[in-house]
């Protein structure tokens, strides 16, 4: 329907610049800020795009000169918060063995120690879990080009550049909603 209406109006697919969230409306942090501060950014920064509010899944990471260095996702933060001993846990083990190992580590009797450990690890800098920027989009990029980049790099978010500078981000949800209009 939408497709036919747009064709009738001589319109084209929307570009990255049309779909993106402007940079100053998306949560971001300097790289020396902590995981704890990244958690706050994710839980308290509602992103309001075209009247639709959502909590961010990703926080952008910048340096002193306000250059984009990378981003952290929820799972990066979770990884940062997990105890070092978990690295030795072989997740390939049978279910029973794995359960035994985890039960030993996270007994309720050890609640105090475990939570203290989480809080300590939350003071790590976000740069330690940050994902580098491996792909970007240009403002003029076709929507399908964004789909290609996201799928091939397994990304939820692409920085959008204009004249070589980051001006915003485009998220999977933005593209998903746009595409949905053609499908439904």
């Amino acid at each position: 329907m939408l497709d036919q209406e747009n064709k009738a109006k001589g319109m084209k697919f929307r570009r990255a610049g049309d779909l993106m969230v402007p940079l100053d409306r998306y949560p971001h942090l300097p790289y020396w800020f902590t995981l704890r501060q990244a958690v706050v950014a994710m839980l308290s920064s509602e992103v309001d795009v075209r009247g639709r509010k959502s909590l961010p899944r990703v926080v952008l990471v910048f340096d002193e000169e306000y250059s984009l260095l990378g981003f952290v996702r929820r799972r990066d933060i979770l990884r940062g918060l997990e105890p070092a001993v978990l690295a030795n846990v072989d997740v390939g083990e049978s279910g029973e063995v794995l359960e035994q190992q985890l039960a030993r580590l996270f007994d309720d009797a050890n609640y105090e120690g475990a939570t203290t450990g989480i809080r300590e690890r939350a003071e790590k800098a976000v740069r330690t879990v940050m994902q580098p920027i491996v792909a970007t989009a240009d403002c003029e990029d076709h929507m399908m080009k964004l789909v290609l980049k996201m799928v091939s790099h397994d990304l939820h978010l692409l920085p959008v550049l204009r004249d070589g500078s980051v001006v915003g981000v485009v998220r999977t949800v933005d593209i998903f909603e746009e595409l949905a209009q053609y499908v439904l």
Binding site: L29, Y31, A41, E65, Y66, L68, I133
Partner: protein, 844 residues
């Protein structure tokens, strides 16, 4: 040295010297400002009435305030230029008002020797004395006063100058010990003789004689009263009954009696009075009134309130037959009427038995006459006169706006004349100490007296029947006298309590007792029967005498004596003086009325000058581009480049090879602040381990022109710091004084700009303001610019606050980036307060 490449060293030293000189002026201004605030604080504390003080205290405090404020004004003019010269005018205006309130502050105005009452009002007290000026004022408002004129202070001054008396009198008075009665009597005699042997300048004598003749023409009577009307009387000091008054004086003796009144300034008790109050002869010039004599059928005093129970709805009227002198000197017991202020009804009438009355003698002077036995037990005044006195008394009180003490007389035709009015001293009953005591009847030696000044005192009884007995009064005595004669004032610096057998609260000694805070009971029958040497406790508040020493009573009544101090003219006058010193009207430096023209008190001037001096200094220091090039490099573990310039030493003695270690200087505020920064640590470390060595540039925000943390500089002295930090995208300027005197200390913070969007920068300003408010800063935020100020803390608190500021500056470095919503900002505020240990403070 490279850093001096643009200047040769001599130029550099010269430039630095200029800045240092400005800074020295600024330091001096702060020093003086601290002094003024300390004196004002002390003066305000005294005004609460819990401490005693004298004229010397007022004078010395005032002198400190004046000299410091003058200094402050001059320093500000040096710092800021001509635009501040109008402060001098503001100062002169306030100072002139102060001079009106203090004895000896104002030179005697040149006036005619004689001024008639019809030309006088209360504003003329400096020229003609209080009594004369008030008679002129009463006449102006349509009340009947006797015809008469004032012989002015200028006439008095001309007489002294003509005989070169001033220096000679001063020399005599300088050496006298007021506690030595015999010395007082001797010096009094010598000065009296000098005055009486002086010749009256011809033009002064002519003016007085012409005045007298004119008065006789106007009234048809040759009899006049020559009355003292001292300057300062009824102002800060009562001078009650200190000076002579001569009644029924005739033509031939007018000049001599005038001289007698002038000489009465130097009776033993008058010398005692003014020297014990810290006054000197020039403070108490002696204008005199020449008043047509009222041949008094009755006379007396109206108190428009009961001075001992001022909240009662009563006027007190004291009346005797004949002339009034026997009432105010306490030698006759008057009729006393308490009359309702509301409806004129008499609530109490105590009619005394009148054996004698004072009357005019046919050949001048006065004489005691017997009273007709029929009249002896009758009221001395009719009800009609009583009602007239109520009406007049209330009219005078309304006019002056406060309770009055009015002397009056009726002539043989029944006409009422007002002879004097002054503010009535009230003895307010205030909350006493909570020390309680029990007195058994057996301990009460005498009771039923009237409280003239509350309190209590104990000691051995000394009976003083005549002036000669005054020399027997030693430290710690309880003085007992038959009547309250003026010479008793001499005992007030030594004795612990005073009792008189006759007299009421309407006499001069009662007034003086309150000024000296001497526990005093008057009208205590049987007091003169007390055996000399008997140790008694005088419970003046209770109007009784107790056996032996009673520490419980003394402790309980102690506050009464201090409280009564608040009722003295000195204390009341002090409050008027303080009103020109202490109140602060200029609050907001950004308000349109923050100008020299709006300075109404000395405190306003210092507030204005202090603020503007800080502004001037701040403006200079923040524009010291050359300072960055003149200064040393601070070597620090923090990755910051800071140029340091010292204001209290020459370049040649600074640092080593153009650098100075962060721990090697002695600037207290800089150490405190820098240690705070170091404790928090440089936030953006470990950059090299990031997966990307260079990021993607962003658009739309200001770039750090000079890179981050460059071109920061500090202007320092041991107690001062002006630190301009350029940290990435934001500018922070912190200025602080951290000296020993808290009055000089302050911290000023300016925080501006940032790299993130304006919305996020404003959020950061809100966060910082919130934290600084917890640190007791006053904060003003406009968009992304914050000004914060706190002052007057002890040096350790200033240092602690600077340390926390150092941490906060680090914590907020590029924090604006993270403040993506108000709820995130709220979280950071709580988090920072917790980290800085301020959340506990706020709740505790």
């Amino acid at each position: 040295m490279e850093k001096h490449s643009c200047y040769d060293l001599a130029d550099s030293e010269h430039m630095l010297r200029c800045v240092q000189e400005q800074f020295e002026h600024y330091q001096e201004l702060l020093e003086q400002n601290g002094r003024v605030l300390a004196v004002i604080g002390d003066m305000e504390e005294k005004s609460l009435g819990e401490y005693l003080f004298d004229l010397n205290y007022i004078r010395s405090s005032l002198e400190q305030v004046r000299s410091s404020v003058r200094e402050i004004i001059e320093k500000l003019i040096v710092l800021g230029g001509q635009e501040y010269e109008s402060l001098r005018l503001a100062y002169s205006t306030i100072d002139a008002q102060l001079a009106q309130l203090l004895p000896g502050e104002r030179p005697i105005d040149k006036t005619p020797y004689v001024l008639w009452f019809e030309s006088l009002g209360r504003g003329d007290a400096f020229a003609v004395g209080g009594k004369n000026a008030q008679l002129g004022e009463l006449r102006r408002i349509g009340l009947r006063v006797p015809e008469g004129f004032a012989i002015t202070a200028w006439a008095y001054r001309c007489f002294l100058d003509h005989n070169d008396l001033q220096t000679r009198i001063r020399e005599h008075l300088e050496s006298v010990d007021v506690r030595d009665y015999d010395a007082l009597v001797r010096v009094s005699g010598e000065v009296n003789a000098m005055v009486r042997s002086g010749s009256v300048p011809q033009d002064v004598a002519d003016a007085i004689r012409e005045g007298y003749e004119e008065l006789v023409r106007r009234t048809g009577s040759e009899a006049v009263a020559i009355r003292s009307s001292g300057i300062g009387e009824d102002n800060l000091f009562s001078f009650a009954g200190q000076y002579a008054t001569f009644l029924n004086v005739r033509r031939e003796s007018v000049i001599d009696r005038w001289l007698d009144v002038v000489a009465s300034e130097f009776t033993p008790q008058a010398i005692y009075y003014f020297l014990s109050h810290g006054l000197t002869e020039p403070d108490v010039a002696m204008p005199v009134g020449c008043v047509s004599m009222v041949d008094a059928a009755s006379s007396g005093v109206v108190y428009t309130r009961d001075p001992v129970h001022p909240s009662d709805d009563s006027l007190l009227i004291h009346a005797i037959l004949g002339l009034g002198e026997s009432l105010v000197d306490g030698s006759l017991t008057p009729d006393v009427f308490a009359v309702s202020r509301a409806d004129g009804s008499i609530s109490k009438a105590s009619i005394a038995r009148k054996e004698t009355r004072l009357a005019m003698s046919g050949d001048g002077g006065t004489a005691l006459c017997d009273v007709d036995p029929v009249r002896a037990s009758r009221s001395s005044i009719s009800e009609a006169v009583l009602l007239q006195l109520v009406t007049c008394g209330l009219a005078v009180e309304r006019h002056y706006g406060r309770p009055q003490d009015i002397e009056w007389a009726t002539d043989v035709e029944g006409r009422l004349f007002l002879l004097q009015t002054r503010a009535l001293q009230l003895v307010r009953h205030r909350c006493a100490t909570d020390v309680s005591f029990v007195v058994s009847d057996a301990d009460v030696l005498l009771s039923g007296g009237t409280t003239a000044c509350p309190g209590a005192g104990f000691g051995p009884v000394v009976q003083v029947m005549t002036e000669r007995d005054l020399r027997n009064v030693s430290d710690g005595s309880v003085v007992v006298a038959l009547n309250p004669f003026p010479g008793l004032v001499i005992t007030m610096g030594k004795a612990r309590a005073l009792i008189t057998e006759v007299g009421g609260v309407a006499n001069h000694i009662a007034t003086l007792a309150r000024e000296y805070r001497m526990p005093t009971v008057v009208g205590l029958r049987g007091a003169t029967q007390l055996k000399p040497g008997t140790v008694v406790t005088v419970d003046a508040t209770g109007g009784r005498i107790l056996r032996g020493e009673r520490p419980d009573v003394l402790a309980s009544r102690r506050a009464d004596a201090v409280n009564s101090f608040e009722d003295t003219p000195l204390f009341q006058g002090y409050r008027q003086i303080l009103a020109l010193i202490a109140p602060l009207h200029l609050m907001d430096p950004s308000a349109a009325e923050f100008t020299p023209q709006q300075c109404r008190t000395m405190h306003d001037i210092t507030r204005f000058a202090h603020q503007r001096a800080m502004d001037e200094m701040f403006r200079r220091a923040t524009r010291l581009d050359s300072a960055a090039q003149l200064g040393l490099q601070l070597s620090s573990t923090l990755p910051m480049r800071v140029s340091v310039l010292f204001l209290d030493r020459p370049i040649s003695t600074m640092g080593d090879n153009g650098t100075i270690g962060e721990d090697d200087h002695d600037s207290l505020p800089m150490q405190a602040f820098w240690n705070g920064m170091k404790r928090q640590g440089w936030p953006s470390k470990g950059r090299t381990s990031s997966p990307l060595h260079s990021g993607l540039a962003t658009q739309g925000h200001g770039r750090p022109v000079d890179g981050y943390s460059v071109k920061s500089y500090a202007v320092l002295s041991t107690t001062y710091m002006m630190l301009c930090l350029r940290m990435g995208y934001h500018f922070t300027t912190i200025e602080s004084m951290c000296a020993e005197q808290p009055g000089k200390n302050y911290i000023r913070v300016q925080y501006k700009d940032g790299g993130a969007s304006l919305e996020r920068r404003i959020r950061r300003i809100r966060l910082i303001a919130e934290v600084l408010t917890r640190l007791r800063f006053d904060c003003t935020a406009r968009a992304d610019c914050l000004n914060a100020f706190c002052s007057c803390f002890e040096a350790p608190i200033i240092a602690e606050t600077l340390g926390l500021l150092g941490r906060l500056v680090m914590m907020t470095k590029q924090l604006d980036m993270a403040l993506s919503s108000d709820s995130v900002t709220d979280w950071y505020i709580e988090d920072f307060l917790r980290q800085l240990g301020l959340n506990r403070r706020a709740t505790s």
